[in-house]
């Protein structure tokens, strides 16, 4: 089938999964008592008479009725009130996203480029020094508890050397931005301090933000790169054993071209599907990394919300993660079909 038909088919399959996701989240809400569930409609702090609230919003009605009512609210963007962010969940989420986005933005290139490079090198020089070293790094990264590596990084670089402090910005920069925003002299165009700093002409802010980003990005990279290296390596090994590699050599191509032009192109294909998994890994990774490094992103907020029983936020976060993950999977599948002509045309 053509590419278009493939895309349409996948989009259609998206619907039942999304419905299922909402069903699962709703099922989890039903594990709570009516009082906790009420927070989707009202701000729990302001409630005096719980019985009235339960009556009014039908929180003891049959399950399917509740589901549709709840779904209605969700589709209108109302997840309820989150005490953690002291605002409605969606608004709270949105204010926290830039911090996480910045973190992911600066980690992703390292993970991808370094992962692919090391994976290819590892496969081409199988069983030699670089292969062993890379595999050791990969397996260490896979076995490290992300919170522990974060703590170690922090204690060594910040504790001993005083470099790369935790948090998102230093006190001076933070103060500058807050007062600047209030007085209108500093504009938050994107919410990403690194870019806003440049756009506002205050390069020292960008530098400060980058300084704070080094350790968290390093932590994220260390954890995620392991999987990428492993998959790239095995996929490359498979490609190198194929017939077209021998043919390419028999044509007189230099080994470097054989590896890069012929083998690697084919080896990248499974790796692309992996990038969807990387997104899931990032979402999970930021929870821990932001918590340890004190970065006010959605991950840290979700962790705090979980401890403080702020169910609307936690569930909304879960839904957000699921939607993001499923969408990324879909995009990746489409990309995969586009790149591999066998899928597209076969």
């Amino acid at each position: 089938m053509g590419l278009k038909a493939y895309v349409v088919r996948r989009l259609i399959m998206l619907v039942p999964i999304m419905i299922g996701v909402t069903l699962l989240i709703f099922a989890i809400t039903q594990l709570f008592e009516p009082i906790a569930r009420a927070s989707i409609y009202v701000n729990p702090i302001r409630v005096r008479d719980w019985n009235a609230v339960i009556e009014r919003y039908g929180l003891n009605d049959p399950v399917y009725v509740q589901y549709f009512r709840w779904l209605n609210e969700v589709l209108r963007g109302n997840f309820g009130y989150s005490q953690e962010t002291r605002s409605f969940v969606v608004k709270g989420l949105l204010t926290k996203i830039p911090a996480t986005a910045e973190l992911v933005l600066y980690s992703a290139p390292f993970i991808i480029i370094l992962g692919i490079y090391l994976g290819v090198k590892s496969a081409v020089h199988k069983d030699k020094a670089i292969d062993h070293m890379t595999r050791i790094v990969a397996i260490i990264g896979w076995s490290l508890p992300s919170f522990w590596s974060a703590i170690i990084l922090l204690s060594i670089f910040y504790g001993i050397f005083g470099m790369f402090p935790p948090g998102r910005l230093g006190n001076t920069a933070q103060h500058f931005i807050t007062t600047g925003a209030r007085e209108g002299t500093y504009h938050m165009y994107t919410g990403l301090h690194t870019i806003d700093g440049i756009l506002n002409g205050e390069l020292w802010i960008t530098w400060d933000a980058l300084n704070h980003l080094v350790l968290p990005c390093a932590n994220l990279t260390l954890i995620q790169i392991a999987l990428l290296i492993r998959v790239m390596r095995s996929s490359m090994l498979e490609a190198l054993g194929k017939g077209y590699v021998v043919t390419a050599r028999a044509k007189g191509l230099a080994e470097k071209e054989v590896i890069n032009k012929h083998a690697r192109r084919n080896a990248m294909i499974p790796v692309i599907t992996l990038s969807a998994l990387l997104i899931a890994g990032m979402l999970t990774g930021v929870i821990i990394t932001e918590t340890v490094f004190n970065i006010p992103g959605i991950g840290a907020t979700a962790a705090a919300a979980a401890i403080h029983h702020d169910t609307p936020f936690v569930l909304a976060f879960a839904m957000f993660a699921a939607v993001l993950f499923v969408t990324t999977n879909l995009l990746v599948d489409i990309l995969y079909a586009y790149i591999d002509p066998r899928i597209r045309l076969g």
Binding site: K242, G243, Y244, V246, T247, A248, R249, A250, K251, G252, L253, A254, H262, R265, N266, I269, I339, D340, P341, R342, L345, G346
Partner: protein, 380 residues
């Protein structure tokens, strides 16, 4: 009639976990200029390995321990095993080409047919393509009216002239890396594509322009093999090594490909080493035949002679085992020996109906029993 290829005493060993595989034990073979030499034998007898040795494409853990492979170049004869990798790369695909058994896996699934054939042209025929590109630029420049177009053509002309004079110059390498500027390379690709379509046509592929833009998996087995042959013959090699090219194809397609190869031999004037286990194919296409068993060449003769008068017991067994309607099946008893612990002396002796005591002790020498008929057996 001189020898295009002369293999002397080729010893090839594979160092594996389970032991040393003595794949080739002193192979002696030669190919006369202009002929089609058939190399026959069962699976595992070393035919493919001999061919791969010529191009030094033996995969690890294999190692060529000793021997010489003489190849007659335009000026002098060289020993291929003594050459450096860079030199061999210049030969592969240009003077000596090889085609393999499964065309489906020999072609890269993510590149079109034309891209893969053009690769050979771009690699070995760069000069001719550059000249053709310059001519095309001149033509375009003539019909241009001046202004931006002429300017661009002027620049292109200079770049291509430079490519002709000094293809590896620093400035060219630098230019080729800049994203928009390096579009000048498109001309070269266009010329290469023209040549690729040309050669596809010579392969008797219908509608070559359309096929050129297709991907390998969209083609049938026979078409894929034609593409592989096109890649191999693109630069008019002196020697073509065909390793069981029709084994994985249907019988009817097989016949077509064999016909094609015969015709192409006339047009391209290459010598061919044809590796197969099918005696029927040998009878059809080859001038001379070499029979291999367990890493040794056991008999070499003209094709008619070897069918009429097979001398080695193994050859006799092979010919007798060709199924004939009305006659009983005959087979050679026993199986191919392990090459880690091959039988001492003549490796065929455990299965040989005429084995003598000498056969399990001493390896037989190659003797010319009749004119141009060599055999390696103690019976003679």
């Amino acid at each position: 009639m001189s020898n295009l290829v002369e293999i002397q005493g080729l010893v090839l060993r594979f160092y594996t976990y389970e032991g040393v595989v003595k794949a080739l034990e002193g192979v002696k073979l030669n190919l006369i200029d202009g002929e089609t030499l058939g190399v026959v034998g069962e699976t595992g007898c070393g035919k493919t390995m001999t061919a791969l040795s010529i191009l030094d494409l033996i995969p690890p853990p294999g190692k060529i321990e000793s021997g010489q492979i003489f190849f007659k170049g335009k000026e002098k004869t060289i020993d291929l095993l003594e050459q450096k990798e860079a030199f061999l790369r210049g030969i592969r695909g240009k003077d000596i080409s090889m085609i393999f058994q499964e065309p489906g896996s020999a072609l890269n699934p993510v590149y079109t047919v034309e891209e893969q054939i053009s690769e050979v042209f771009m690699l070995h025929r760069r000069e001719e393509l550059t000249v053709a590109a310059i001519e095309a630029i001149e033509r375009d420049a003539e019909s241009a009216r001046g202004g931006l177009r002429s300017f661009i053509y002027g620049i292109q002309r200079r770049i291509y002239r430079k490519m002709l004079k000094n293809p590896r110059s620093l400035s060219l390498r630098f230019l080729s890396r800049i994203p928009v500027v390096n579009r000048y390379k498109r001309r070269l690709r266009k010329e290469a594509k023209k040549e690729s379509i040309n050669i596809l046509r010579q392969m008797e592929i219908p509608d070559p322009e359309r096929v050129a833009d297709m991907y390998p998996h969209e083609l049938s087995g026979g078409m894929q093999q034609r593409v592989v042959i096109a890649m191999a013959l693109a630069c008019n090699p002196t020697l073509l090594i065909a390793d069981e090219p029709t084994t994985s194809l249907d019988v009817t397609v097989q016949a077509q490909i064999l016909d094609l190869i015969k015709k192409l031999k006339e047009t391209f004037k290459s010598s061919i080493i044809y590796i197969t286990h099918d005696l029927g194919v040998v009878a059809e296409t080859c001038d001379r035949v070499a029979v291999m068993y367990a890493g040794n060449v056991v008999e070499v003769a003209d094709v008619i002679e070897i069918f009429k008068n097979p001398l080695h017991p193994y050859t006799k067994g092979l010919i007798e085992s060709i199924p004939r309607p009305g006659k009983d099946f005959k087979s050679i008893k026993g199986t191919v020996p392990s090459l880690i612990n091959p039988p001492p002396g003549c490796r065929f002796n455990p299965r040989c109906p005429k084995a003598m005591e000498k056969c399990s002790n001493v390896k037989p020498e190659t003797i010319e029993v009749k004119k141009k008929h060599f055999v390696s057996c103690h019976l003679y």
